[in-house]
């Protein structure tokens, strides 16, 4: 017998609408509300041990408490699989389904499946988590798609409970998580490419093997009104580091950053610094490290009074930027920014390469 736990919001648990959105998380033995429909599709070999519910607002406002209640309830029910939703186009609900599934999958190692409309904000979180134990099925926008969604959730849950191998997203019908696995397929790339191009030329439908990503636009901070009295730091992706590469940066796809002291230096002496970077010809940068870390120019600005005395941050920050993965570089940027903030830096000279 397969044991299933179903998690729904207060509305689908049949406990009330928006007026009950602050309702704390709780648990009902067996199935309730929408879960009854799920039970129908699960068949006779599976039972719903309990239905966990929470108010849409409660989950997001008191997340720690909500998660604790949910995790405790799931832990004591010991299900083979957890089902959350379907959430359709409800943003708060979709997001909570994805977040709680991710927590259950990570903390308890239980496979989870949820379902929602592809434009639900929960889908973004789902892709960000890219959790191998969490699947999200696409649904219609509204509850008009309830029966279909429950049917597919039930079938998928049974497969997960039986530890069946789940294939690629497109074939299995779940929303891609952004986990790309290297596989051998049955046709060489050349054949697939010529086929795809010919279909495109003939205006026939084709499927790209690599979906384009949409990236955030970066909004630069407003410029400093005056620089003289501001604390200024230097950050660079040039890969200029002390000679010998003491922190073992790689020439590509780095994941850590460092800062190196320049407090006592007037300039960077060639031969004491080297460039670790696989993305450009480093010969010239090694001959003159100021191309990447323009300490000479900053000291001159100090002497002129354009940068106030003691206002230049005593170290520079570096990570070789070559082939940096966007999510990794985003994290590195956030870490460096937090470090700068902590030390009261107000402006940054960013030297990119």
């Amino acid at each position: 017998m397969t044991t299933v736990v179903h998690v729904v919001n207060q509305f689908f648990a049949g406990l009330g609408g928006e007026d009950k959105a602050s309702m704390p998380a709780g648990m009902i033995e067996g199935s309730a509300g929408a879960a009854r429909g799920l039970a129908l599709h699960l068949g006779e070999d599976a039972k719903i041990a309990c239905t966990i519910y929470y108010g849409d607002n409660y989950f997001h406002e008191r997340k720690e408490d909500a998660m604790k209640t949910i995790l405790d309830a799931v832990r004591s029910a010991q299900p083979d699989v957890l089902v959350a939703g379907p959430a359709f186009n409800s943003g708060r609900y979709g997001l909570s389904c994805v977040e709680l599934c991710n927590a259950v999958a990570d903390a308890l190692g239980i496979s989870c499946v949820t379902a929602m409309h592809e434009e639900n904000p929960g889908v973004g979180a789902y892709r960000d988590f890219a959790n191998v134990r969490l699947y999200c099925l696409p649904t219609a926008e509204t509850t008009a798609g309830m029966t279909d969604a429950l049917k597919r959730l039930a079938a998928f849950a049974i497969r997960l409970a039986h530890n069946e191998t789940v294939g690629p997203a497109r074939r299995e019908g779940y929303i891609p998580r952004g986990i790309r696995r290297l596989e051998k397929v049955n046709r060489p790339g050349v054949e697939r490419a010529i086929d795809m191009l010919l279909k495109k030329i003939k205006n026939q439908p084709f499927e790209s093997e690599l979906p384009m990503e949409v990236w955030d636009d970066m909004l630069p901070a407003p410029p400093l009104t005056q620089v003289r009295d501001r604390r200024i730091a230097l950050v660079t992706t040039s890969g200029v580091v002390p000679w010998g590469n003491p922190d073992r940066f790689r020439t590509y796809r780095n994941s850590h950053w460092q800062k190196y002291n320049i407090a006592e230096l007037k300039e960077l002496e060639p031969g004491k610094w080297e460039t670790v970077h696989g993305g450009y010809n480093v010969v010239y940068m090694n001959q003159n490290p100021h191309y990447g870390v323009p300490l000479d120019a900053l000291r001159a600005l100090e002497a002129e009074g354009a940068i106030g005395p003691g206002k230049l941050y005593p170290a520079y920050y570096v990570i070789p930027g070559n082939q940096g993965s966007p999510p990794v570089m985003r994290r590195v940027g956030q870490e460096i920014a937090a470090d700068l903030k902590r030390d009261g830096v107000e402006g940054v000279l960013f030297v990119a390469t």
């Binding site: 790339g189 490419a193 003939k202 093997e209 990503e213 073992r248 790689r250 020439t251 796809r253 082939q323």
Partner: protein
């Protein structure tokens, strides 16, 4: 232009005392070949070894891989501008020893410590998971293991390595000069069928114009700040496009063998006259240093494809990092001119495939073929035998990287170091599939 390529398959190589091809067995005269290589005073020592598929052998210090070919008729000789005068190639008849390759394995430290111009060498396992990912592990190899004079600058080292491997390879193919082949393939673009779409291959080439060898040679001349250039596909078969041998020892760069056997060229030839008109190859310099350069380069390549009346182009590339911006700009420029594109590319994506698969996007790139990933981890078991100059190798190409035993197990966090570690041009069946 019509080229007949005749095939002499090699299933076994014997180190012996004469150079002879018979019944798919290539016997090689070690003394003669070593003497040929040592004609170059920059080479101090050379030995030969044979590596065969499925044996537990790891080859180290690989700089390049080349297929033995020899022109028996038509103008020029293979590797024009390198082994002989600069004459148009791609016409007449060329013999090839198929199923085998010559591997140039040479010790070289280089004078440049990091960056795009640092020397690199690769490894190749003939069995196990390293062999499974590489298109080169199924070939029989004659490994030329040699040393060059210490302290040579990069261009000197490159020409020494290249001449040695090309001369040796051509000598091997010459054994078939008087023999009749098992198979003849005819490569002729001939007339275009007006009912079929015109398709070109747009080959982006990362180049490093400040370096003594930019990375891509055309008739031996390094391509630098050039705009896009039309090339007849047959020229590739005769070795008109070559590599910088101090830098091509890495998993996502083509070797000479790849240019000679370009899978997209062969695929387009196969479809030629059936489903499309193959209208030739455009070599495009990519990795301009500035946005300005990237846009000019991209629009120029699209303009050339348009002038050649291309309805569609297969776009592929060599390189990594910001060179991909040039590729994406080129796709956009082509699509805006009404030329349909399909991109063939390897992916990054990190160890688990959760990071961004490629480094830059344009919305026009809506048709992409994935040839696999360079980034996934790979555990290689210990091998029984090591061929090549290095007993210890550095699996990470950065200053201060600790060397490890070449014979022992290797835990790679990316496939850069394996020759053929990424299936750059879609010869094989690798693909990244989304879960």
């Amino acid at each position: 232009m019509k080229l007949e390529i005749t095939e002499f398959p090699v299933r076994q190589i014997c180190l012996g005392h004469r150079c002879k091809y018979e019944a798919q067995i290539l016997e090689v005269d070690q003394e003669e070949l070593i003497a040929l290589v040592l004609e170059d005073p920059r080479i101090t020592n050379a030995t030969l070894a044979v590596a065969i598929p499925e044996e537990k052998t790891r080859i180290t210090g690989i700089r390049d891989i080349v297929e033995p070919r020899h022109k028996v008729s038509g103008k020029g000789q293979v590797f024009p501008g390198i082994l002989g005068p600069i004459e148009d190639v791609g016409d007449g008849r060329t013999h090839r020893l198929s199923g085998m390759a010559v591997i140039a394995a040479a010790e070289y430290e280089g004078t440049i410590r990091a960056g795009t111009t640092v020397q690199r060498s690769g490894i190749l396992d003939m069995s196990g998971p390293g062999a499974e990912i590489s298109r080169f592990s199924s070939l029989v190899h004659l490994v030329l293991n040699f040393r060059i004079v210490p302290g040579l600058a990069e261009l000197e080292a490159h020409t020494a390595i290249q001449l040695a491997e090309y001369k040796l390879a051509q000598r091997l193919a010459q054994t078939t000069a008087e023999l009749s082949p098992e198979k003849i393939s005819i490569y002729d673009l001939g007339k275009q069928d007006p009912d079929l779409p015109n398709v070109m291959l747009l080959q982006g080439c990362i180049t490093d114009p400040q370096h003594v060898h930019s990375g891509v040679g055309y008739y031996g001349l390094a391509l630098r700040d050039s705009m896009a250039t039309y090339v007849h596909p047959n020229e590739l078969f005769d070795g008109a496009v070559t590599v910088d041998t101090t830098r091509s020892g890495r998993g996502y760069y083509p070797t000479t063998w790849d240019w000679q056997n370009h899978p997209l060229v062969l695929g387009l030839y196969q479809a030629h006259g059936q489903s499309l008109n193959f209208s030739g190859v455009i070599l495009q310099r990519i990795r301009f240093e500035t946005y300005h350069g990237k846009e000019v380069g991209a629009q120029n390549a699209a303009r050339l494809a348009d002038a050649m009346k291309a309805d569609g182009v297969l776009v592929t590339w060599i390189g990594g990092g910001n060179a991909f911006v040039d590729v994406m700009f080129t796709i956009r420029a082509c699509e805006r001119r009404g030329i349909k594109t399909t991109l063939v590319t390897y992916e990054n994506g990190g160890k688990e495939g959760k990071d961004s698969p490629v480094l830059f996007y344009v919305s026009e790139a809506d048709a992409v073929v994935s040839t696999g990933s360079l980034d996934r981890t790979l555990d290689l078991p210990a091998m029984d035998k090591v061929i090549g100059p290095y007993e210890e190798i550095k699996i990470f190409p950065f200053p201060g990287a600790a060397p490890v035993s070449a014979q022992g197990p290797l835990s790679l966090d990316a496939r850069d170091v394996v020759m053929g570690g990424a299936d750059i041009w879609g010869q094989g069946t690798w693909q990244c599939v989304e879960y």
